[in-house]
Symmetry: C2
Subunit: 397 residues, 2 copies
Amino acid sequence: MQNTINIPSLIYLDNAASTPILDEVIQEMIPYLKEQYGNPSSLHKLGFNAMSGIERARKSVSMLIGAKPKEIIFTSGGTEADNLAIKGAALYMKEKNKEKNHIIVSSIEHDAVLEVCKDLEARDFKVTYLPVTKEALVEPVTLESAITERTGLISIMLSNNEVGTIQPIHEHAKIAHDKSRDIIFHTDAVQAIGKIPIDVRVLGVDLLSMSSHKINGPKGVGALYIRNGITIGPLIHGGGQESFLRAGTENTYGIVGFGKACEIASRTLTKYCSEVLELREYLIDRVLTEIAHSILNGTRDNRNPGNTHFSFLGVKGEDLIIKLDEHGIEASTGSACSMHQHKRSHVLKQMGLTYGQIEGSLRLTLGLQNTREEIDHVISSLSHIVEELRSFSQFKL
Amino acid sequence: MQNTINIPSLIYLDNAASTPILDEVIQEMIPYLKEQYGNPSSLHKLGFNAMSGIERARKSVSMLIGAKPKEIIFTSGGTEADNLAIKGAALYMKEKNKEKNHIIVSSIEHDAVLEVCKDLEARDFKVTYLPVTKEALVEPVTLESAITERTGLISIMLSNNEVGTIQPIHEHAKIAHDKSRDIIFHTDAVQAIGKIPIDVRVLGVDLLSMSSHKINGPKGVGALYIRNGITIGPLIHGGGQESFLRAGTENTYGIVGFGKACEIASRTLTKYCSEVLELREYLIDRVLTEIAHSILNGTRDNRNPGNTHFSFLGVKGEDLIIKLDEHGIEASTGSACSMHQHKRSHVLKQMGLTYGQIEGSLRLTLGLQNTREEIDHVISSLSHIVEELRSFSQFKL
């Protein structure tokens, strides 16, 4: 596998939390950090150069998902894209039609969707949180039955950030747009872009959120795809940047880096889908056969190529990741963004996992920079650590 | 003057729109673009390293304005900081007390404040836009008379982005907090930090907005100072980052760069205040004496050291900046962020400038990298360009 990334002597298996920036991406960013410092709105050479970098990036981002450049709005990241999609669509639809105050989301969305919904519930919106199967799947029939005449917005994530389940978004979007329903369909594709083939026309979504730092691009930048013809309101007001939908001087070098990361992702998608998937299967096989009382959470087939998520009974996930870190292996129990809350994963709870399964969870997420040798090393360390931790907790089954 | 900045062979006099990133700042950012790519929320070495970079930056930012580190919330820029301040305070105050729905702002605020106010007016808020003097000053007596029992928030910018007028914010804040009034006072200090001495305790403000790319730091990052004891709501919901006030994976390298820029600004503030001021006075003197029918807009004394703003009667500002650009001089007519609207400056209108004065306006904003030789060159080019443009327009007085 390619290894053009600057990594320290660590085995990094937390690629769903963030990814190393590719050298090629950094090289693309450097001129915009140095010479091309103009404000993209300025009417002089430095301004024009900055704006032309942004427009080139917009094209690369749009091509990764089969959209048109003008359908891409740059944001400060995936969370802001989700906020803009949900609030921008919900507030705008209610302004047009006071009756339209019902939102449907899955109960396993990222907090960037769920917390916005909670905020909207305090502002006269009704939100339905759809249950999922034990494999974290939102069944189309569940969605269909939740729709009412007041429903104006549906949001279901493309690939879950914890267990990697890929939803049948095409079917969900079809239901949303069925029977001349006036419903906007949003999908949080932060974990999916660059990892599974995406064509917004085929998916049939109206809004789609993206993040740069999940696909070996820089942090602090993301984008929202807004299908031509769909109108939403802005979240951040001010200057007229991004077609009046996102005010504030553009993060030029971040956007340029994101564009480059998308260009590379378009090129390496096939490689990712085969090589990372193969590595994932190798990792899953070895864990399940070599570590007793280990469980793979989620579905095996319908899963993000880079995602694995296990439960090791009789072990605490937090202890696991601390021990792994001591062994130079960077991992996670689940969503990095949830660490501040010190709460148990709402995703695993919704999937109906037992207390012991949730407690003992470990997420290992792969990227193109990972190798089979790394996985061999991880398996060896992980086996010892699990055994050691179980001996402390006097684990018996 | 120091010149450690990578600039092309251009004379850059648009420092109020954006500034070149200092080499020292880029060097500080590089490790976070390369090796330190962890998600700051991750519970492993790479996560901790990223978080520790952010906390170091928080300290540097706080020191520039005399705040405590925990009073600093990082945002994606000055515009988002303004949005967070105004919406976060307004919505929170109205939630606590439905009667508190009155906001006072100056009529010469940046669009990042004015456009948020327009949005809030559509959501049952009343907004008073304070008039200014011909020097763009908000007189304290004008503010005092606008306050009602329903006023919950006041926002007046510290230094105007177009004409550089510095407001008596200390007096304004005192009025806001007088008579046990329950009013939050915000100031947009985007154009002021690093350019005039600021101590939030002396100013007496509750909220203060900052931007990195206006002080030789990277784009895509800013901060809001929130005085200890003041509560506002978030604008972007999701993970628990930034004390639950700003969700989304942190732009680590941007934040680290902003911190470094603040550290340097703290060190060079005295130099800035004397050297840039001297250069500004030199520029103003030469323009006013050597170019006929030129006017300095705003006040001469009470002005941002780096700001000049002129009107050249009989000339169109847009033509001026295009011609200057051809001569390798980067300038502006006013706010870069307003370029999308193609509207006449609301600041100049509020100051009571004539149509001809607004039409013929040119903003030249200086930084520590500019030299007297550059100004000499600018005066020579500007004189010729103004003369040439006037000959086309058959300008007569």
